[in-house]
Subunit: 328 residues, 2 copies
DNA sequence: TACAATTTTGAAAGGGCTTTCAAAATTTTT
DNA sequence: AAAAATTTTGAAAGCCCTTTCAAAATTGTA
């Protein structure tokens, strides 16, 4: 069933059917009723692809994320989807697994399908910038990087001030009297770099030695557990541990519990990202809210203005907030 | 830049350009090189929408879920996306928030855009079956319900045997010597119904009174906490608590801890769904693995055969597995 | 009643591709 | 060298809409 069949059945031209479908004003009431009856009778739905062909848009955007199973990304993907849905767009979800080749392939496919825009979620996407293919793929598609930056013509950013986030955590611990504050670096993304910089800067400002208090470990629960073991083995004096991820912090909590060290009485712990885990673990984790929902909303706003080619775009920076739990 | 421009620039017809684009064999090597040079020079990407127009497919499927921030749904959405990506499809994500009207709207939009298929994730979607509009919307689109069932012509299911899952938990507790086993009902979906039925059946089989050991509560952490309070207030003898959701079980753990009751020494607790939370909480939760990844994979397989109109479809049932943690 | 103004309708032109079919060019066979 | 077989190419139709523009029908005005 296409618009021609409907037109024939209703005894009108396709133009008239199109007018009825699009609820245009200039259709005789009698004609409209006749057409609508036929439409209903055949459960007719006009082809979105053909419409896209005319408007050159499928009202669809692509969201690239490392892995939507990571709560942080899920939250941001959720917000982006809901916001775009309100605006009449559908969202294509792409899990790149942190693999840049995979990301380039996704971009190839979705730009080929002429998505109206792309949101890249996470600072890991900063790394696809240098790829020569990316620039040409994204030449005609507006892009917003949520929590990242890409130095390309159509690309704008919504960033969280990670550096400030770590500052808040360190200052909070300092005020509580902690001096032997360690920072656990668990990844090697640009975001992690900024966190580390924030740690160093804040420690310096407080008159403490930051450099000697940085430890590296793997990402995830296990990384936190191991880091504690190593820290205790080294006989270092530890009064607080600042983590760049909640999951790592929870690993730290588990490690400390295993070693019989009480939190927060003997050692305080802070996480980052305000994941659901932070409320689930024991004791509830002090963490930094990275405002995922806000970042999602702002990304959508920004991308929409880009799509509509309005003329005033600007990258934005969002302030994180310290959420004090019972682990500090 | 369209195929006509490329053809003109290369001094050939659009048919030839199309052949080169689609890597067809019958093109003279010299001609091919000439066309490819032009293609590269202009960074030409053929319009996916126009292609969709011809093939009547955008190689896209829609996944409807209640909320991708719920880890269980995120896992299944992730698996579905990855599997479809391998097969050359993109996935549109839709968060209905459990609202049926919203779900119908999404279905309206995505079927209008002629998605090749739809996956509905969760037994909540069983409820849109009776809606008159749904049947007509889905008349020409293959549908798979993951963890649910819909009695419509093109609809098939991949189900987890929830009843068995609860049985495994109850039997496990029984073997450990527990007799005062309570079941916490926290939702009112079909899946929750089956879990409750599983509890009653198993208790009966073991010669215990099931009916008297069912308690209702709200969904989520808070629900678990409250349920414990009420249970303790009622002075009932409690030796184990079986929950239909990990999050509820974690609430129970928190409630018990608050009341100074040791887990698992005094009361054992089990969850459901094998969420990440189960490993994060203290003590680690005994839970039932609902095989989200497997369900996702099977759903994709099934939907693909439906899309390709192969002739042998069958709904499937997946066996859950008990994961014994430290809470029982 | 004749004319202008307005409302309602339809024909036709895109939009950018794939595909079919026949023509042209080339190679092989006799 | 002519005929047959094969490879390579292009014209044109089709996919299903929206939109423009002009024609037809209706209403209002003089």
């Amino acid at each position: 069933m296409n618009i021609y069949d409907i037109a024939k059945e209703a005894g009108v031209s396709i133009s008239t059917v199109s007018r009825v479908l699009n609820k245009k004003e200039n259709v005789n009431e009698e004609t409209r009723l006749k057409v609508e009856e036929v439409l209903k009778r055949y459960d007719y739905v006009p082809s979105g692809i053909a419409r896209g062909m005319v408007s050159k848009s499928m009202k669809t955007v692509a969201v690239l994320t490392v892995d939507v199973r990571v709560p942080q990304y899920a939250r941001i993907a959720y917000t982006i989807e809901r916001e775009f849905s309100k605006r009449g767009y559908n969202v294509q979800l792409c899990n790149t697994g942190g693999d840049l080749e995979e990301a380039v392939q996704y971009l190839d496919i979705v730009t080929g399908k002429q998505v109206d825009g792309v949101v890249l979620v996470g600072s890991i996407f900063n790394r696809i910038g240098p790829d020569e293919r990316v620039a040409s793929l994204l030449k005609h598609t507006p892009v917003v990087v949520a929590n990242g930056q890409l130095d390309l013509p159509n690309c704008y950013s919504v960033l969280v001030d990670d550096q400030l986030g770590i500052s808040l955590a360190v200052e909070h611990l300092y005020k509580k009297g902690h001096r032997e504050i360690f920072y656990l670096k668990d990844m090697d993304t640009d975001s992690a770099q900024r966190k580390q910089a924030g740690f160093l800067e804040t420690m310096k400002r407080l008159g403490l030695d930051g450099k000697a208090h940085i430890r590296e470990t793997m990402f995830g629960l296990q990384g936190g557990v191991q880091a504690v073991e190593q820290l205790l083995d080294s006989k270092a004096k530890v009064s607080a541990i600042v983590c760049g991820e909640d999951l790592t912090a929870i690993g730290v909590l588990k490690g400390l519990k295993r070693a019989g060290i009480r939190v927060p009485e003997e050692v305080a712990v802070t996480g980052f990202n305000r994941s659901e885990y932070a409320q689930v673990c024991e004791p509830e984790l002090t963490t930094v809210d990275n405002k995922a929902e806000l970042v999602g909303r702002l990304s959508v706003q920004l991308l929409e203005t880009l799509i509509q080619k309005e003329e005033h775009y600007a990258s934005m920076v969002v302030q994180p907030e310290l959420i004090v739990g019972k682990s500090s």
